[in-house]
């Protein structure tokens, strides 16, 4: 009975927040805020850099170029992305099914 009373006193949002913090203890100190905003502003960023790519190619003439790991969407970090690893953008030349 006592614990039930306690639960009633905690607003549902706070209870949810506690759940989240339990799962991800290192989640940002600032509530909501800048992390999301920066992620939102950077939508669409792909890090293929032709300069890096060509320099890496020149340095590693005889070795195989490291290519992107299984997650083809992540082309940043230590490995040098290749043009093939960038997801291909196809334009939708098919008519919308709404018009079908």
């Amino acid at each position: 009975q006592d614990t039930q009373e306690k639960d009633k006193a905690i607003p549902p949002e706070r209870a949810e927040e506690a759940k989240l913090k339990a799962k991800y203890p290192t989640l940002g100190q600032k509530p909501g805020g800048s992390d999301f905003l920066m992620k939102r502003l950077q939508k669409g960023q792909k890090y293929f850099d032709s300069g890096d790519y060509n320099m890496a190619k020149a340095k590693m003439k005889n070795k195989q170029l490291p290519s992107a790991g299984p997650d083809k969407n992540l082309v940043t970090g230590d490995h040098i992305p290749t043009p093939q690893d960038l997801p291909q953008r196809k334009s939708s030349l098919v008519t919308s099914k709404l018009a079908g």
Binding site: E17, P31, K43, G44, L98
Partner: protein, 462 residues
């Protein structure tokens, strides 16, 4: 709730559904915007694949007085294509974020469509005759040898099957560093605004090589960024006034007569927060995903994650009305954050059609927009009657698709024992979101977009 009787309650019936039946939805088919034109005769949709489909309402059939004209495909075209900005290593989606119609001035129709970076003015025109009887060309287009021409004739226009052509008349590009979320046509019908996360630009519809920056909230140091612009709209009657909403739940009203750069608002609308209720989620769920002025411009409506709020432009410190869309989600915020649903951007819209009570706005509050509508999950959408304070939940589903049968109200069971016909919160399908809805400007016809289908409902006509 609405529909339980009472003379003025609207009873909604299924009318049509457009789109594929199969559950396997291609990304390109995801509907991203829905908009009626000013007369309601045309209904435009935009999708993630950059395509626009326009439907036209059939002329009313005098013999079929029990239903209004159906919407059939009028025109479809590829508005935007995917692009890659090599300089910034930025992928530019072709997804159509917004469509806005221009009021009709001549035989052709014009609309603005925008993706994240580029706004385009499209002209949609009809061609129902073509010239025939050229002297130097055959009917199939091949040129005739002039020496074989012995008599001359005057080419004449002959009727042909109606062809609807869409052509891009203006391309407004390179004015937005960040992603465009809104476009809004001014009541002067000459200019329009486009808003991205940090800036708002003013354009003239005829001029594509320049635009004026009217709002810039980019901080000198990006580390100090705390707030972004989420939506913007011009006032329906006052051509120097516009509003923009933010990710912190505020709305700013600006007057372009005050200064060239409207960084200082004329009014700031913000509801004070209860500090004891503050949590990690507070700011995220307060982010406004849509702002819409009422027809008279006296009120505006905002949509945040859990509610719809009506603001009186004369009162900045709190909304005059708040409607809970799906309050039961407040105790699910943790999982909604984990599956990203908490970032879903729902739109809202006003009833377009209650013009006959507009005269009452002279003596009482603005009753011309009695009902507001917004979407939710599980393909549910909600309507709130501002007058009676009643609300209703309806579902866009192919299971209810018998024309002229009134839609059954739905109910979500938040906790405790679930009654028959209720659905529990845990059974809701969060992949079935209704983000975009539109209300016909004159009649009780609504367009509701599920992920890849467009539903049209109308009120039961007796």
């Amino acid at each position: 709730f609405l529909g339980a009787g009472g003379g003025n309650d609207i009873q909604w019936c299924f009318s049509q559904v457009k789109g594929a039946v199969d559950d396997d939805v291609a990304e390109a088919d995801i509907i991203s915007t829905v908009e009626f034109n000013h007369s309601g005769e045309l209904l435009a949709t935009g999708d993630k694949g950059g395509r626009v489909v326009i439907f036209q309402q059939e002329q009313e059939n005098k013999t079929q007085s029990h239903s209004r004209g159906e919407y059939n495909v009028y025109s479809t075209f590829q508005s935007h294509e995917p692009e890659f900005d090599y300089l910034k290593s930025l992928e530019i989606e072709e997804k159509i974020n917004k469509i806005r119609w221009l009021p009709q001035k001549n035989a052709a129709q014009f609309l603005l469509s925008t993706n994240d970076k580029t706004i385009k003015l499209w002209k949609i025109s009809e061609r129902d005759k073509r010239p025939e009887g050229y002297n130097l060309k055959e009917e199939d287009g091949r040129y005739r040898d002039p020496t074989t021409v012995t008599t001359l004739r005057v080419p004449v226009f002959r009727p042909m099957d109606l062809m609807v052509e869409a052509s891009p008349r203006r391309i407004f590009a390179n004015a937005h560093t960040y992603h465009i979320n809104s476009i809004s046509i001014n009541s002067d019908y000459e200019t329009y605004l486009s808003a991205d996360d940090l800036r708002i630009n003013l354009w003239h519809l005829e001029i594509t090589d320049r635009s004026f920056n009217i709002v810039d909230i980019k901080p000198a140091n990006m580390e100090e960024l705390t707030e972004v612009i989420t939506a913007a709209e011009f006032h329906p009657n006052s051509c120097s006034t516009f509003v923009y909403s933010s990710s912190k739940g505020t709305i700013r009203l600006c007057d372009m007569r005050a200064s060239a750069l409207c960084d200082r608002h004329s009014k700031l609308f913000e509801e004070p927060e209860d500090p004891s209720n503050r949590s990690f989620f507070s700011e995220i769920i307060s982010s406004i995903s849509d702002v819409k002025f009422s027809h008279s411009g006296r009120y505006m409506m905002t949509r945040d994650y859990l509610s719809v709020k009506i603001w009186d432009l004369n009162m900045e410190n709190r909304p005059v009305e708040t409607y809970q869309v799906h309050e039961y989600l407040r105790s699910k915020l943790c999982s909604l954050y984990e599956n990203d649903c908490i970032f879903d951007k729902f739109e809202c819209c006003w009833n377009g059609s209650d013009r006959q009570v507009e005269f009452l706005s002279l003596c009482t509050s603005d009753l011309s927009k009695l009902i507001v509508m917004t979407g939710s999950y599980n393909n549910f959408f909600r309507m709130f009657d501002r007058n009676t304070k009643r609300d209703i939940t309806l579902e866009a589903s192919r299971e209810n698709n018998k024309p002229r049968t009134v839609l059954k109200p739905r109910k979500v069971c938040a906790s405790g024992k679930r009654k028959k016909d209720e659905i529990s919160v845990d059974s809701l399908d969060f992949n079935k979101k209704i983000l975009h809805t539109a209300w016909h400007p004159k009649e009780n016809i609504i367009a509701v977009a599920t992920t890849n289908n467009l539903y049209i409902f109308q009120d039961k006509m007796n």
